[in-house]
């Protein structure tokens, strides 16, 4: 949803908060119903209510409480964020990108190749290069079905599915032949250079000991501060005190510079002295920040730019888009490219940050691309809503193991619960019925998430 803010007042904030709660209430209800129904199913299949209790306690403990529980939930959430942003981006433009899994693979193999190709680059160059290459790989893989749709009208659902299979086989070939690590007995690519790794959270203080790395981080923080200050300067209360465009510019640049310099000087000693991400977070990596940034970026792109306006118009009503002079074909290719790029980055984070060998082994992904469709639906395609939704799915995926260990309830029950969540989200009518809500006429015309079908 776009939101152009007028003068913010107390009532305005109240309205915004109410709106957010309103948007959250349906998914929350759906989740609770799903868990309740899941408990019923566990009770029926195992014959005792306590099994469901033990299972859920195990699930929650495994997902959040136990050592590395929270860390692992976040680790699983990172690729989910990127992949489901990819799906949601397609939704916004009226496209159903089922090819996220394939684009994920292409991104992963590109990252593995570029990561291993250079050994003596500093991280400040190598890491952005690898991420960009993975994004480009995914973008090309997404753009092909996009182009086919724009030029010939071929349906993207069919073509992205077919591109998935091409991707699997292509990556299999590349991993077991061209990029293969001949030394290892396992079939996997060569380990990427340390400069291309996504730093593990625990290793950040060590990494920052290198001034070049500290500079890298400081630049990124300055960049983030710049955009933050720029947004801030536009909000009414602050812009009132910055009465000229020049002073606004000074404000923005000043904040960016200050935060950059400060973090360059202070971050290395500070992280050394107090760093919460200890070795209990040894698998969590800085891709987490990248994921947060990606969600914010997508929110901005979709809701605050002309590009987003065009994509959303094409998604919501292609005829009106054509009428308004929007180039539909270009929008479709662009949307599929951005979607593919996000999926490609998802693959890269797994190779560069999680994979034990920091390489791409055979049989890599386990359906991140498909789970992400569910997440995007749960978040109703909203860029910021995807963050909590991904975390939920990451936590479920992670907590499932301890649940199974503790209670003997198969972790496939988690898939069932995920499916139920989706069912309740995708069919608000059921939830309304269960909660005896009257259908308001205006709500019936909800924005279609997947116009892609049947056109």
């Amino acid at each position: 949803m776009s939101s152009t803010t007028t003068t913010p007042t107390r009532t305005h904030y109240r309205a915004v908060i109410l709106k957010m709660l309103d948007a959250l209430s349906m998914p929350l209800v759906a989740i609770l119903f799903a868990f309740a129904l899941g408990a019923v199913i566990i009770t029926i299949t195992s014959g005792s209510l306590s099994a469901a209790l033990v299972a859920y306690v195990g699930l929650i403990e495994g997902a959040f409480i136990k050592t590395r529980g929270m860390s692992e939930s976040l680790v699983a959430a990172i690729p989910y964020v990127f992949a489901s942003l990819a799906v949601a981006f397609g939704f916004k433009a009226g496209l159903f990108n089922v090819g996220v899994e394939g684009q994920f693979y292409i991104g992963a193999v590109t990252a593995a190749a570029v990561g291993a190709a250079f050994s003596d680059l500093p991280a400040i160059i190598h890491l952005p290069l690898v991420i960009a290459a993975a994004a480009l790989g995914g973008a090309v893989w997404g753009a092909i079905p996009g182009f086919l749709k724009a030029k010939t009208g071929a349906h993207e659902v069919i073509n992205t599915i077919m591109m998935n299979y091409v991707a699997y086989r292509l990556v299999e070939y590349l991993v077991s032949n061209v990029l293969r690590d001949r030394v290892s007995s396992a079939v996997q690519t060569i380990r990427v250079a340390p400069s291309a790794e996504l730093w593990s959270m625990a290793s950040v203080p060590d990494r920052l000991a290198d001034p070049l790395n500290a500079l890298f981080v400081a630049l990124l923080i300055a960049l983030a501060a710049f955009f933050f200050a720029r947004t801030l300067a536009k909000t009414a209360r602050i812009s009132a005190s910055l009465n000229t465009p020049r002073s606004a510019r000074l404000f923005t640049v000043g904040i960016a510079l200050a935060s950059g310099v400060l973090s360059f000087l202070l971050l290395p000693p500070l992280t050394r002295a107090l760093w919460i991400w200890t070795d209990k977070f040894d698998r969590l990596h800085i891709g987490l920040f990248l994921a947060l940034a990606a969600a914010v970026f997508m929110y901005w792109l979709l809701n605050k730019t002309t590009i987003g306006f065009e994509l959303r118009t094409v998604g919501a009503n292609p005829s009106a888009a054509q009428y308004a002079g929007i180039n539909i074909g270009r929008s479709i290719v662009l949307a599929m490219s951005v979607s593919g790029a996000l999926a490609g980055i998802a693959g890269a984070t797994e190779v560069l940050g999680v994979s034990t060998c920091r390489c791409l082994p055979l049989f890599f992904s386990a359906g991140y691309g498909f789970d992400s469709i569910a997440i995007a639906l749960l978040a109703r395609g909203d860029a910021l809503g995807i963050l909590p939704a991904s975390f939920l799915f990451g936590a479920l995926r992670n907590g499932a193991d301890l649940m199974e260990l503790r209670s003997g309830v198969s972790k496939h029950v988690i898939s069932l619960i995920q499916a139920l969540v989706l069912l309740f989200v995708a069919a608000p009518a059921i939830v309304r019925y269960l909660t005896r809500q009257k259908v308001k006429p205006a709500e019936v015309a909800e924005a279609p998430l997947t116009r892609g079908w049947g056109r």
């Binding site: 306006f309 308004a324 002079g325 308001k440």
Partner: protein, 514 residues
């Protein structure tokens, strides 16, 4: 005399709206009872209650003087109430017979074991349809496929469907909104014949002329209340309009004589084909000058849509040339055409004109979002968009809770005002309006007509395409009549008469059919 139907004190609340407030309504046997009201006046709610879609919060319904409850549309049909919806409930690939017997099988199978087989006997169903068609002059071929039928015929299929189910009372919800004047006249004939044979009809519309043409009595609703019931003989258009809107309405637009300037739009030998490669516009040439309104009259489906699409860049012409102010725009994309100063109020506001799931503000900048001051670089300046939206909402009297309200939740009239506001706000050289007031209420029609005339007076060239002869006659300075893709004749509006135009629209030139 007993009433076929009587509704007493019907009240229906929706969250925040009192849709029907103690409404009194009655329907005599063999009567055509008109129901008039602006959008949102509560007509549709009342009919939905009578058809069993809603349950009233208070009030009572009598059928043939018996108190009754109508629990569902199924129940309504069982009690002899049929409804012809504005949007047809037909399955296009099936035949007329199949459409009509669809859903009927349950009536039989619940009583007789072999009922399902009996339903599949299309022959006797077709015979019955033929008989009904003949009895009421409906002219329906039971074996035709619905998707091949013109709109008017599809509507008659809906009527037969109701009659086939033994409807005594028939509700027609804005049946003329989709019809050409001729088809509307045919429909009125059918309605009268049905009334003569003892059926009672409720006829919903907001076109005043039709009320006088066909009804026995007219009830007017406003803001959920029943304002009153009058006989058309004793009423005037002005009176009905005032009852409907609640204030005096100027039905005839005052406009000064045209002072045409230089040629803005020049169309030469234009030829346009539709998606099936049939020529829809054939060797059409005309021009529109600054400060005049050229009306294109004609029965819908004679190439007007394709003509407008070709002029605005939405459809590539096969041959010919279109120029706007000396610029050749024949094969230019829509954005280029817009940037030459062409504004376009499209025929189908839901399909082309609006993004229903977007807020009012975003719809108001749908064509200009990328220009200064709304965009800087690729970033949209939300504050500027908001400022523009608020300005237009005030200027064009768009009734909306806020500029962030989704346009889809506005009434049709306000939706159309959003489009008109957006298109007229730009520095426009040529305004192309296609069916600008279709389906709108009297108040909105008046408003939009005034805006079109104002645009002309500012020196804009206006091309007005409309199937409503009244609209063309009251607005246009010159009138071109389109028939089967060609312009048969262009007349001076002052000299043209209804009859003359009606004949041209039917393809009759100089006493001979072309």
């Amino acid at each position: 005399m007993t009433f076929a139907l009587e509704a007493n004190g019907i009240t229906k609340k929706f969250p925040g709206v009192l849709a029907n407030d103690n409404v009194q309504f009655d329907l005599q046997r063999g009567e055509i009872h008109g129901l008039l009201g602006e959008n949102g006046a509560g007509k549709t709610t009342l009919m939905n209650i009578l058809y069993g879609l809603y349950q009233p919060d208070a009030g009572e319904i009598f059928l043939n003087a018996q108190s009754t409850q109508i629990t569902s549309p199924h129940d309504a049909i069982a009690q002899g109430i049929g409804m012809v919806h504005q949007h047809f409930m037909l399955v296009p690939p099936l035949t007329v017979t199949e459409n009509i017997i669809l859903g009927q099988e349950s009536l039989y199978s619940s009583t007789k074991f072999l009922g399902r087989l009996a339903v599949l006997d299309r022959k006797s169903a077709a015979a019955r349809i033929r008989e009904l068609s003949h009895q009421y002059g409906l002219d329906i071929d039971p074996d035709a496929t619905v998707k091949d039928l013109p709109v008017g015929a599809q509507q008659r299929v809906e009527i037969v469907k109701a009659l086939y189910r033994d409807a005594d009372i028939l509700i027609l919800d804005e049946p003329t909104a989709v019809l050409t004047p001729q088809e509307a006249d045919d429909l009125f004939g059918i309605m009268k014949s049905m009334a003569q044979q003892g059926h009672s009809l409720i006829f919903i519309t907001h076109k005043l002329r039709e009320m006088f043409a066909v009804t026995d009595r007219v009830s007017v609703m406003r803001n959920g209340k029943m304002v009153g019931t009058v006989a058309p003989k004793e009423a005037t258009s002005e009176m009905l309009a005032e009852m409907m809107v609640g204030r005096k309405v100027i039905l005839q637009i005052d406009k000064s004589a045209a002072h045409p300037g230089g040629t803005i739009l020049q169309v030469e030998n234009l030829r346009v084909e539709d998606d099936r490669r049939t020529a829809m516009v054939d060797e059409v040439s005309f021009h529109v000058r600054a400060g005049e309104i050229l009306g294109i009259a004609g029965v819908q489906g004679n190439g007007q849509r394709e003509l407008v699409e070709a002029l605005t860049g939405l459809r590539a012409p096969v041959a010919g040339k279109v120029s706007v102010l000396e610029h050749d725009v024949t094969h230019k994309p829509p954005r280029a055409v817009i940037e030459y100063g062409v504004a376009h109020v499209p025929e189908d506001r839901h399909k082309h004109g609006l993004v229903l799931t977007f807020p009012v503000a975003d719809n108001l900048v749908l064509c200009t979002y990328y220009q200064s001051p709304f965009a800087r670089g690729i970033e949209i300046d939300a504050a500027q968009v908001e400022r523009e939206a608020e300005k237009l909402v005030n200027e064009f009297d768009i009734r909306t809770p806020s500029t962030r309200t989704l346009v889809g939740s506005l009434s049709g009239g306000n939706q159309q005002k959003v489009i008109v506001a957006r298109e007229l706000d730009r520095p426009v050289k040529l305004l192309i309006v296609n069916q600008p007031t279709r389906g709108l209420d009297v108040g909105s029609i008046e408003f939009i007509h005034r805006r079109i005339v104002e645009a002309r007076e500012r020196g804009t060239a206006v091309l007005l395409v409309s199937a409503e002869l009244d609209e063309i006659l009251s607005l246009a300075d010159r009138i071109a009549v389109m028939y089967k893709g060609r312009i048969l004749e262009t007349l001076d509006a002052k000299a043209a008469t209804r009859e003359q135009l009606g004949l041209l629209m039917a393809g009759v030139v100089g006493g001979k059919h072309v």
